[in-house]
């Protein structure tokens, strides 16, 4: 369900683990305010690539090594965060 991630400072922190093709994250949908900064940390058990739609940011994932993407969201809408190799939806970013 929709949840407002508690901002640390002014940053929304989201952590995701991918193991055996299964996504483990606190929320399917993360709600953030327009203008907010989002920091996503992804740890995958295989090499992959993580992609944030809409803001078009990507980061390479090495197996077992956490990768961090930080960006600001400046437009309302719903944006998917997903892996490209395994085609998994990590979570949806709901920007209001």
């Amino acid at each position: 369900m929709v949840a407002l991630a508690p901002p640390t400072g002014d940053v929304y922190e989201i952590e995701v683990d991918v193991t055996d093709g299964t996504v483990d994250t606190a929320e399917d949908t993360v709600e953030v305010a327009v203008g907010g900064t989002v920091r996503v940390t992804v740890t995958s058990d295989v090499d992959d690539e993580v992609h944030v739609h809409g803001v078009d940011r990507t980061a390479d994932l090495s197996a077992g090594v956490p990768a961090t993407l930080e960006f600001t969201v400046d437009e309302p809408g719903v944006f998917e965060v997903e892996t490209h190799g395994s085609h998994l939806l990590l979570f949806q970013l709901l920007v209001r």
Partner: protein
């Protein structure tokens, strides 16, 4: 932005925010109240005069629209535009900057709706495949209307329904559907089968099987522009236009494919769908195919059952009545498609026009649109967008109810109005379902 990123979904990385709950409820209540008002207080004898209605436009307008010059100019435009897009699709690089996916999924598919509402069934006038068939027939001195065989009488719109299902499968389910090899492969098969169909059955094949012509012609049934029985172009109430929709076999299937696929598009964008697919362990393409077909089948079955029930209440045991009512789903489809694709069309449409300047990725600016800035104003107006979405769905619903009511009192003049109840309930379900999907997805 990394230039090698290929979009994994269709086009567009952005979806609209869910509509506010209050607005969804207000829309649903309005739809419900208006529906029962129509049933209780509306006319008891058919009002629509179909192709005899409308205010004639000046003779010069009809003459200009029907002149061979206009017809050939439109055909030429279709050929040139088709060749231009095909060039980018065949020779352009397979990158997110290639305009092909945007042209197919946004300009052609979504753009067909406003264009057909404004100008009528435009695709049959510009369809490059129809023109190529015509030119080839002229070259070998054959009548394009005559094929090797005549189309079976029961074919109706069934081939078009099948092709529409195939296209929405490409748009919503096919793996890597925004990439060139996938789009090329689909269109290679489509062009091949269409060519074969046109040779065997003549140019009627396009009327019965071309999904883009079928879509354009159906949406054009809600246009302000129509043609009277004597051929004169008229301005008319869209409901009158809708009333003269030919009730071909397969019309119900066609509208079910259109409504079901758009609803599936909403549902499959939701996190619960993605979660379900990931947890079910099914291959995503299989899950998507099953989901898409289920949505279409659900609309088809609920609608045919509702019509049968309505007919039974009216004391009629006529078969095949659902095609006589299916036109009333067209406004629901158009309302829902408008709500669902409005922002995508505005934002991705602009992006596609910019990308079209350089289809080969060589830095060219052939159309002069390369430097244009995209206007993203609408993306920052979620409240306005939500209001338009709900209004479109509710207006579509009301038009659908009114056209179904008029058809019911014409077909069953002696029956009590309550016989329409099953039909009305099913249409309310489509509308509330559409609102729910916009709220929850």
């Amino acid at each position: 932005m990394t230039p090698t990123v290929v979009v994994a979904h269709g086009v567009g990385g952005r979806q609209d925010l869910p509509i506010p709950f209050g607005l969804a409820v207000a829309g649903a209540v309005t739809a419900l109240v208006v529906s029962f008002l129509v049933l209780r207080v509306a006319w008891r004898r058919s009002r629509f005069r179909g192709d005899r209605s409308g205010r004639p436009l000046p003779v010069a307008v009809t003459r200009a629209a029907d002149s061979p010059w206009t017809r050939w100019a439109l055909r030429l435009f279709g050929l040139v535009a088709g060749a231009y897009v095909a060039l980018g699709a065949v020779a352009g690089p397979d990158l997110a900057t290639n305009p092909t996916a945007g042209v197919v999924y946004v300009l052609l598919w979504v753009g067909m709706v406003p264009l057909s509402l404004l100008f009528g069934p435009v695709w049959r006038l510009v369809n490059p495949l129809r023109t190529l068939h015509l030119l080839l027939c002229r070259a070998v001195r054959l009548d394009p209307a005559v094929g090797l065989r005549s189309l079976p009488a029961g074919a109706g719109l069934w081939p078009a329904a099948a092709w529409l299902a195939a296209f929405t499968w490409l748009e919503l389910v096919a793996p890597d559907r925004a990439t060139l090899p996938v789009i090329r492969a689909w269109f290679a098969v489509f062009v091949g089968v269409t060519a074969l169909g046109a040779v065997v059955f003549g140019s009627r094949w396009f009327d019965h099987a071309d999904p883009f012509e079928a879509y354009s012609s159906l949406v054009a049934r809600l246009s302000w522009l129509g043609r009277r029985h004597d051929g004169r172009l008229v301005a008319r109430n869209p409901l009158e236009n809708l009333d003269v929709t030919p009730p071909w076999p397969g019309l119900t299937a066609t509208v079910a494919v259109l409504l079901g696929s758009t609803m599936f598009d909403s549902a499959s964008a939701s996190p619960w769908w993605a979660r379900w697919v990931q947890e079910s362990g099914l291959p995503p393409t299989l899950a998507g195919t099953v989901g898409l077909l289920t949505a279409m089948l659900l609309v088809y079955l609920t609608f045919t059952l509702a019509v049968r029930w309505t007919a039974a209440l009216a004391g009629s045991d006529r078969r095949g009545l659902s095609d006589l009512f299916a036109h009333s789903v067209v406004p629901i489809v158009v309302g829902y498609v408008s709500a669902h694709y409005l922002t995508l069309f505005v934002l991705e449409g602009q992006r596609t026009v910019v990308l079209l300047a350089d289809p080969l990725g060589t830095g060219a600016n052939w159309l002069g649109t390369a430097g244009l800035a995209e206007n993203r104003w609408i993306a920052g107006q979620p409240t306005l967008v939500a209001s338009i979405q709900v209004a479109a769905i509710v207006v579509g619903h009301v038009l659908g109810i009114v056209s179904a009511h008029d058809r019911a009192v014409r077909l069953f003049p002696a029956a009590r109005p309550d016989c329409q109840l099953p039909l009305l309930v099913v249409m309310v379900c489509y509308t509330v379902g559409g609102l729910l999907l916009l709220f929850a997805a």
